[in-house]
Amino acid sequence: MYNKNIVFLLASLVVIASCRKNDQIPNNTQPIPVTNGFYLLNQGNMNQNNASLDYFDYASSVYARNIFKAANPNTDVLGDTGNDMAIYGSKLYVIMNGSNKLEIADAITAKRIKVVTIPNVRNITFHKNKAYVSAYGNTLNASSANGVVIEMDTATLSTTRTIEVGRQPEGLAIVGDQLYVANSGGYDAKNYERTVTVINLNSFTKIKNIDVAINLDKIKKDKENNLYVSNRGNYNNIVPKLYFIDTKQNIVKDSFNIPVSNMTIAGDSVYIIGTVYKPVTFEAVHSFNIINTKTRKAEGAGFITDGTEKNIQSPYGVAVDPVTRNIMVTDARDYQSSGNVIIYNAAGKKLQTYITGLLPLSIVFTTK
């Protein structure tokens, strides 16, 4: 077991070394539309301080585990319960919910640049050299039930502005100069939030609350600058659904009877993984839906076409390579053991499976 880890570490060092040629001037890396791999954030189990970062290099086909540890020897680990991850410019941003921190690392070397403490931090998005971070912890007023969105400068990595939003804010999306925040209110089973807060990023003021449905979660923008918002329901008689927001009028225009545990949008398609439980037996039924954003209709039997979806025990994350359109689905297995990432081609045929860390959640693609 130990030897296997050494191999992984060495492999990851090889990968990093091969990426490190221009690591002296990481800020000058200009993205060109060629993907060369992806980072995968493994959430880890709560209180076990064991979130981890993997990297898959397309050219060498080496899937390297635990590269954050390898890239940052003799310093603190990534920490507890990863929740979101993104690359903006030359930097990799990792949201560590259980560790109350935002880890900022070099996007090429994964070397730590800065740690920013944010209580109960949840998600991140970017706009015009600013990062926007949602957090349950209210840094303006700790006794408030409302969460906040924190604006940070991506060059100085310091906080510029903070605004109060709804209770337990989750997903974030940007359309034009407007920030959309999906509020969950997940701490109140009897009083969930049901709005998306719209914030004007110039004035940094709330301009509208769009009423959608209770317990909102993910929010993603399509090519036409409209939004898909998912909710978790109330785990009882209100089932999880997906909603469509027209951002010109800022109203809900459409809804889909599709449960969403994770989703991503690439091209004209929304890729959705979801799970419902049968009554009485509580057997999990997974779905791998695809929605055409032009027709706003679910297409066919889902995005996995070769029948291999039945081997996926607990679908946990989904990502689509923006260039190749290969689809990555992560499997959290029994939520206590190493997971899998399964790579499908654009037509939904399985190409490869790799073993990940614990609870593989989030994937971001790196460009050359």
Binding site: M1, N120, S144
Partner: protein
């Protein structure tokens, strides 16, 4: 009142269970066995011929372990792992022979402590101040006269509080103790036992425990070490017990007692990257009143009746969760009525039979959203036959359990009804040698707790109880010699346990919602060896030396599991305890060493989940003094002498070297 109604119900069940045995308990031949094995007031000398293995700590030995809580003392039992979240207020639960903490019932003066909510008992809450004996039984013991519910469990941890003990024709006994030391500990206690007349006496015991609980710890990750101070780890607790005893010419033994415990404690939480501090707080108020009545009727029939009412209040406050109605504060109130009637009849000199019936009624109230207000009716019965022949002893029982729940919902959990057999045999092959072989088989259950069933909001799903089979084979040998020691006791046991329908939590829909399922199976092969030796080295000098070693292969045998045939979390393959005591005139010294081997904190046996072995050494030295008829004892103890930083539970660091001073007056 519902409670009153249930009470009437309980009394009826009680009466009915009496009748059959009363009818055939007419004869009156004095039975020696009876006298021999059921004297509760005295400490039992180790009985090598018991059909199941048992371990006992009592008297001086228990005192000299200078443990702070019952949890600290229980660590010395082989096969027992204490899941310890660290510090003065940290949760401490027992897991015996790898089966999970809910397979062990904890008896306080013979009756199970109420725990329908989560099925575990925090042993850190019980100090040793008023405990005179701790025993661990891997099954049912041979006394027969015991409550039925305990017989449905795999293991029994029994705490016996002090009985009045008057020496030198005194009518009273007074004891006052003060303990202080690391963690800002202040722990005064008093014990007052008073004789009223020849059969009646009372006892009052009270203590106050206050500590800030702070200690240094080391955070290590990725070859990166930094130290921190455990914060929000304080405790402020009061415990008071008062009991009235009636003991009459060995035919009547009765007591009635009240118990109250109240505490406020910080929950210091997990130490993870960038987050060393947690502000959560917990308040407890536990009250119970317990009456026991034991009577020898005629010469062959003994009756033991218990009645207990308990009320447990818990408040939890989490300032990190602010809901629309403010900071999250939850209160829970669990109430329980426990009635038990146990009877024993000696049919022949070599044949004893027992019948016990228990009825327990439990309710749980909580101010959490969509709470289902569960109620539980728990009936249990145990019928046993015990044969004691010259070379052979056999104990065979059939235990019955029926559990019926009621919740505020249209869907109800199905009733549980099971019959659980037990058979144990002990064989003493030689007349002259104190050597015995034993073997036993037992089936037992771990019924789903209220948390398993009803914590999630609506879809309370049907859960089967966990079902356990235990096989044990072993030997005991006591040898009185002169060379090299005065006496040596050796006991060894091999066991195989199988737990099926293990209740395992899975996130459903999201990590916010967990569903419990009967999914797992665990198979445990174990071996343990206990050696104890005594020697008188000089006229007033005695040495006692003990070694325990346990090997446990506890594998996940759930078919299709990703971790099939891997060692289950937190179970070491190897664990050992060593302790030695030296008494020289008025001095006493004690040394102990506890070793817990490498473990994994998660089901997958990979490097990332590895927990280092830990081993701590504790020492103490004390002296007895006498001044104007007042006996005194002073003692100093150093625990974790070599200041090892370790974790029993991942992310919950344990204290390093710490000190304790004890001064005690006896009058």
């Amino acid at each position: 009142m519902l409670i009153v109604k249930r009470l009437v119900y309980a009394v009826i069940v009680w009466m009915v269970s009496f009748l059959p045995v009363l009818l055939y308990a007419q004869d009156s031949v004095y039975n020696e066995i009876l006298k021999d094995i059921e004297v509760t007031g005295k400490i039992q000398s180790p009985q090598i011929t018991t059909v199941i293995p048992s371990q006992t700590l009592s008297g001086k030995r228990l005192e000299q372990l200078n443990s702070y809580s019952v949890a600290d003392a229980v660590r010395y039992f082989s096969g027992a792992q204490i899941k310890d979240y660290g510090g003065m207020g940290g949760l401490k639960t027992i897991d015996v022979r790898g089966m999970g903490s809910q397979h062990t019932t904890v008896l306080y003066d013979g009756i199970a402590l109420a725990n329908a909510q989560n099925g575990t008992v925090d042993l850190g809450k019980f100090t040793l101040d008023n405990v005179q004996q701790i025993s661990l039984y891997h099954g049912q013991n041979d006394y027969l006269l015991q409550p039925a519910y305990a017989a449905t469990f795999s293991h029994i941890l029994s705490l016996q509080t002090r009985l009045p003990n008057f020496e030198n024709n005194k009518k009273y006994y007074l004891q006052s103790t003060f303990k202080t030391g690391s963690f800002g500990l202040l722990n005064p206690s008093v014990l007052w036992q008073q004789q009223i007349d020849s059969t009646l006496s009372f006892s009052i015991n009270a203590e106050w425990i206050k500590a800030h609980g702070r200690y240094q710890f080391q955070y290590s990750a990725n070859d990166f070490d930094t130290s921190g101070s455990r914060q929000n780890a304080g405790i402020d607790a009061v415990r008071a017990e008062a009991a009235l005893f009636k003991i009459k010419d060995s035919t009547t033994e009765a007591f009635t007692k009240i118990y109250y415990y109240q505490s406020q404690r910080g929950l210091p939480g997990a130490v993870v990257s960038n987050r060393f501090y947690h502000p959560q707080q917990l308040w407890d108020k536990n009250f119970f009143t317990h009456t026991q009545y034991k009577k020898l009727l005629g010469k062959k029939y003994t009756l033991l009746a218990h009645f207990k009412y308990s009320n447990d209040y818990t408040k939890y406050r989490d300032p990190e969760i602010v809901t629309s109605s403010g900071i999250l504060t939850n209160t829970y109130i669990q109430q329980e009525i426990y009635t038990s009637v146990a009877q024993k009849l000696s049919i022949k000199k070599w044949w004893t039979t027992g019948l016990s019936t228990d009825y327990i009624f439990t309710t749980l109230n909580a101010d959490i959203d969509n709470f289902l207000f569960p109620e539980r009716n728990n009936f249990s019965a145990s019928h046993s036959h015990y044969f004691r022949l010259q070379k052979l002893q056999i104990n065979a029982s059939l235990n019955f359990l029926h559990v019926k729940d009621k919740i505020n919902s249209s869907i109800q959990q199905e009733d549980i009804t099971r019959l659980l057999p037990f058979v144990g045999i002990s064989f003493k092959p030689f007349y002259n040698a104190q050597f015995a072989l034993r073997a036993s088989y037992k089936e037992s259950l771990r019924i789903p707790t209220f948390n398993d069933l009803y914590y999630t909001l609506y879809n309370s799903r049907y859960l089967e109880p966990e079902y356990a089979k235990q096989y044990n084979a072993g030997f005991s040998w006591i040898k009185k010699t002169n060379i090299p020691v005065d006496s040596i006791t050796v006991a060894g046991n091999f066991y195989y346990n199988e737990v099926t329908n293990k209740i395992i939590g899975f996130p459903s829909a999201s990590l916010f919602r967990w569903t419990m399922m009967n999914l797992g199976k665990v198979s445990i092969h174990g071996a343990e060896l206990n050696i104890s030796a005594d020697k008188k080295i000089a006229p007033e000098s005695f040495i006692n030396f003990n070694v325990n070693y346990t090997y446990e292969k506890a594998l996940n045998t759930t078919k299709g599991s990703d971790t099939y045939l891997q060692q289950i979390p937190y179970l070491p393959r190897h664990s050992s305890t060593v302790y030695g005591a030296l008494n020289h005139k008025k001095w006493h010294m004690h040394y102990s060493f506890i070793y817990t081997g490498e473990r994994y904190f998660s089901p997958e046996n990979i490097q990332e989940n590895y927990l280092q072995p830990w081993y701590t050494t504790d020492i103490s030295i004390g002296r007895e003094l006498k001044w104007n008829n007042v006996e005194q004892k002073i003692e100093i103890a150093i625990n974790n002498l070599f200041n090892q930083y370790f974790e029993v539970v991942k992310s919950y660091p344990m204290p390093g070297r710490n000190f304790k001073f004890i001064i005690q007056f006896k009058l």
